[in-house]
Symmetry: C2
Subunit: 145 residues, 2 copies
């Protein structure tokens, strides 16, 4: 549906269907939706700024700084919850153009260590463990508000 | 050498020797040193915040927002110079703990597309082409200041 001749994507943000299919929602921050991906060995969050038509970080203008605040907050929550050794953070978008930032908790000795996780296979874990992870991250983010 | 019992790393920033070995300097921004890596098919820059002892983005405190401004500025310069289709940006640090942010220009159809470049082989290009790239990026960043 078009509004005043503009495509909907120019007037209203919608989560890309591939991101919706691959993840579960955690919560909304001021700018970004926080999503979780079920990848057993790699606790994995994704931030998606709720701004239509944004592909590159510089498309965000002044909101890029708010995105960084939310990356820092979410990274800290992920580290608290998992006790990980290192955070791996990336904006890639070669497959899904809607700007999204991966925040992945890594342990020294995890199956892919020290290689990055992107472009690699990462099997899902048990549904109950994933639900518990989402709950823990949601509570950690609520407390860091 | 220690200063008042602190290791030097807590009092003075030094570029990690592995980053120094793998790259050539482009220029210094307010916060970050800009480095270039010679990877022919993938024009490749690295930002290193000049703050001692910083490993994760959240270690930067308020400077994280300045880092994001410099990521946006450097990404835009890299896109101007290369005319790339997509920017790939990441802070990984599994091998070199000193916080550094990769900013890589990708073309649709480049040898690894759409896979990420990290953890993959990427041969060097001609020294003259690399010197010309460094010069172009330096001028683009000077003009965007």
């Amino acid at each position: 549906m078009a509004v005043d001749g503009l495509p909907v994507s120019a007037s209203a943000w919608l989560l890309h269907p591939q991101l919706a299919a691959d993840t579960s929602p955690v919560c909304d921050l001021v700018l970004s939706r926080v999503l979780a991906m079920n990848a057993a060995e790699y606790p994995w969050l994704i931030l998606v700024p709720r701004r239509a038509g944004v592909v590159e970080i510089f498309d965000l203008g002044d909101d890029a700084r708010l995105l960084m605040t939310e990356i820092a907050m979410t990274s800290r929550a992920l580290k608290e919850v998992t006790g990980c050794d290192k955070l791996n953070i990336a904006a890639i978008g070669n497959m899904v153009p809607q700007l999204h930032v991966h925040i992945v908790a890594r342990r020294i000795g995890d199956p892919l260590w020290p290689k990055p996780v992107w472009g690699m296979a990462h099997p899902s874990g048990a549904a109950a463990d994933f639900a518990s992870f989402i709950d823990s991250i949601g509570r950690a983010l609520a407390n860091s508000g």
